[in-house]
């Protein structure tokens, strides 16, 4: 059903300075779907997410429809308040601002949930520390997840969620990413798992270079980003298998052929 599409990107072009990084990108994400974008370094993955959030430094043309409304001209905070969340690859450190007070300012959820999730993410001691100051790679990613779980967006962009994370942390990050996306509901007295799925399932978009995170989270659709366009759509596990076995060169070969088809 077309009406299920909550995020719809049409003919997106993005420039950084005078360089065109995204060149006519199209992508549709349905309610409750999680997509992954693979792509070699420099293919424009992070540029894509930054443009989705509306960060400065990007000139954007084309449409970004969220629940049918074009958000491509809205400031960052309005996009966030509409229900778009981003897990940063490398979020900045904010000296003097405690993680707890940041989350309490931005959270839509009640207070005791914060402590509960902080404990489960092994972050209790971090709530009274300055945001990301002196945090390790894994601690940063866990803190990002904690912020997003309490921010409770409808669609979540995850920028390289596994980067800088050691093996010990990656399973925990995978588990809570699933939870954030509403993919690991726990049944309770009133609701069945099926009910919970219907209520809680969120949409997501994961950007990954290595694909390791796919061992831990469920992804419905995969794409390859090449030279500023979406090269193909498909089963994410199969695509990742191909990329792992043959590298992005194989994708590139296929991509060039399709480009020719488009031109001819």
């Amino acid at each position: 059903m077309e009406s299920d599409v909550i995020f719809d990107i049409r003919d997106l072009h993005v420039w950084v300075s005078d360089r065109e990084i995204l060149r006519g990108l199209n992508l549709q994400i349905k309610q409750g779907e999680v997509h992954a974008i693979f792509g070699p370094n420099g293919s424009g993955k992070t540029t894509f997410l930054n443009a989705m959030m509306g960060f400065t430094g990007y000139r954007v043309e084309g449409e970004i429809l969220f629940h049918g409304r074009d958000i491509s001209r809205l400031p960052v905070d309005e996009r966030a308040r509409l229900g778009i969340g981003l897990s940063f690859q490398r979020p900045p450190a904010i000296a003097g601002v405690k993680l707890r007070s940041l989350i309490e300012t931005s959270s839509k959820k009640d207070g005791d949930l914060l402590d509960k999730y902080a404990e489960r993410l092994n972050l209790t001691g971090f709530l009274d520390r300055d945001v990301n100051v002196g945090f390790s790679g894994g601690e940063i990613k866990r803190a990002e997840l904690l912020q997003l779980i309490l921010q409770d967006p409808d669609i979540i962009f995850l920028d390289e969620p596994e980067s800088g994370v050691d093996l010990e942390n990656i399973a925990l990050i995978g588990e809570f990413t699933n939870e954030l996306l509403g993919r690991s509901p726990h049944p309770n007295g009133e609701r069945t798992i099926k009910d919970l799925y219907r209520e809680k399932r969120k949409s997501g978009l994961v950007i990954t270079h290595t694909g390791h995170i796919l061992d831990y989270i469920d992804v419905d659709v995969g794409h390859v980003l090449m030279e500023g366009r979406i090269g193909c759509d498909g089963n994410p596990r199969e695509m990742l298998g191909t990329i792992r076995d043959y590298g992005f060169n194989e994708c590139y070969r296929c991509f060039l052929r399709e480009e020719e088809d488009v031109r001819s």
């Binding site: 969340g85 601002v97 931005s106």
Partner: protein, 394 residues
Amino acid sequence: MSDHNSNSRGELDLSVYREEAPEHAELEDLSRIPADEQRLLRMTGVDPEGKERSGSFFQKDHSVVHCRSQFDGAEILSASVARDKYEGLTEYWGKAVPVGKDVYTKRAEEHQEHGYFIRSLPGAKVHYPLQACLYLTEDKLAQDVHNIIIAEEGSTLNVITGCATSPQVRSGLHVGVSEFYVKKGATLSFTMIHNWAEDMAVRPRTGIVVEEGGTFISNYICLMPAKDLQMYPTATLVGEGAVATFNSVLLASPGSYMDVGARVILKEKGCRAEIISRTVSTGGSIIARGDLVGEKPGIRAHLECKGLLLSDEGFIHAIPELKGKAANLEMSHEAAVGKIAREKVEFLMARGLSEDEATSLIIKGFLSLDIVGLPEELKAELDRMIQETDAEAM
């Protein structure tokens, strides 16, 4: 800044200020003062109820209206009374700040009206702070005070000083000579909060002498506008292993001029010093100075001036200076002046904060130094002050 009542060297036209002030009656109970004045005092860290305080001193214009000690291990007096009591305080008076140092120390000697004398007895652990408030209620008045603090051998002493003007005052002059003596093994923590009227000229002149194994901690906070503020306290560490720390937090709005720094002279082996300042200009001018002089081996000292400049008006001029005079010492400095990183603002906006909320949160975070040695309760008060600092001004 044509109406700025000082030339480029910070000299003021002193003839515009009045010397005479009406006498104010003594106050048994500080909590009887009007609610709006109580609020003013609280904003300078002074608790009118005197709760969790070992003693209070309250000087209104030229009159000491309240002076009580609630703890046997410490005394608090008018400096003039203390001079009568202790043979002129000749060991201390004019020893850390020479009387002839400059035009302000000279005028303080000529025009002095009280100021406080605070002393902790040898070995006394004064748990709750003593508080002193210097309050100006007459417009265009010159208030000249001389303060003495003595932390006797092995004692621990906390002092909170609040300086404020009443709401009807627009301009005035405050000159305060302060001489602090930290004896062998003693610790003095001194916190000063300024809350002046916009057109005030302020000239504190402070000297500190720290003996062997003694520790001096100074916290200075000025988040309210001050038209012309100039201070450069100097701590001289005269005994082995003496320590001095200066923390300053300044916010200069348009029209404010703050020339604030600290100097530490480390004269003996194993002395340590740290000078840290966080300054924010929303259009005011700030000179953030720091000067460390190391004279013996085994000295460690660090200086850090960080400034956020949020407007093209005004400026922040960081002047860190280091002078080492012996081998085997370690001295360093770190200075930075800049704007708020766009990346940080947008990170917070991506969490749903508006641009203004994000900016103000970053500034408040920047100013909220983790000040070591600040009493818990005052730390909470400082956090609250920073939180309540007019976001508009930022």
